[in-house]
Amino acid sequence: MAIRLVFLGKLADVAGAPEVEVDPAPNMDGLLRQVDEGLAGQLETHRIRVSLNGEIVADGRGIRPKDGDEIAFLPPVSGG
């Protein structure tokens, strides 16, 4: 098994793909260490919301990832 990271909006461009699979890790830092460094920086500095298996979580950093989880990174939505 693995953990799926999903990047929405322009994060997909930074990540180079709309989603990637990473190896399990005890915390978010451990997951992000496996992706592009620029992306990890973006996830820190922008107003990015995090969803775990389809539910927005208040504290993305606090997630304890489990095998098979889907974690999505959601930048602010576009205006109309």
């Binding site: 929405l8 909006g9 322009k10 969803s51 389809g54 576009s78």
Partner: protein, 147 residues
């Protein structure tokens, strides 16, 4: 009662409204809003991305809030995703109600929240490539009207 959809193909707002009206013969009035991809000579294509596990459930929750807040016979929320040409319809919101004011306010409320709080990301292709569209401050101001 509640007709909430993500559409991945072009649609005719006039036809959808006609069907919605037929489905609500008891309503005295129907307010609606159709949003189109802004015609802009520079823009070749607009692409709208959503996130399946959140976008449609949140649209349904928004429609439920409108149904709870106003006395409606029905509400319709249709939103395009995928690639669209400038001028193409992108969103249709309609509310059927016995009283005009309920229909207007529910439509206005739903549009404001859809635009600012629903999970859609847009990018447009111009002659020099794709550009992501950033949030607009005006949308947040619209949203504050309802709090």
């Amino acid at each position: 009662m509640k007709d909430v959809r993500l559409l991945d193909k072009g649609f005719s707002p006039g036809k959808s409204l006609g069907l919605f009206a037929k489905a609500h013969p008891e309503a005295g009035g129907i307010a609606s809003f159709v949003g189109k991809v802004r015609p802009d000579e520079e823009v070749k294509v607009l692409e709208l991305t959503h996130y399946e596990p959140l976008t449609l459930p949140d649209m349904n929750a928004l429609a439920d809030r409108a149904l709870a807040r106003w006395d409606l016979d029905g509400i319709l929320v249709h939103h395009r995703v995928g690639m669209m040409r400038p001028g193409a319809p992108i969103v249709l919101v309609a509310a059927a109600a016995r009283h005009r004011r309920d229909a207007f306010e529910a439509t206005d409320f739903t549009m404001d929240h859809l635009k600012s709080a629903a999970w859609f990301w847009k990018r447009e292709r111009r002659s020099d490539g794709w550009h992501w569209i950033e949030p607009r401050e005006a949308d947040h101001a619209d949203l504050r009207r309802w709090t």
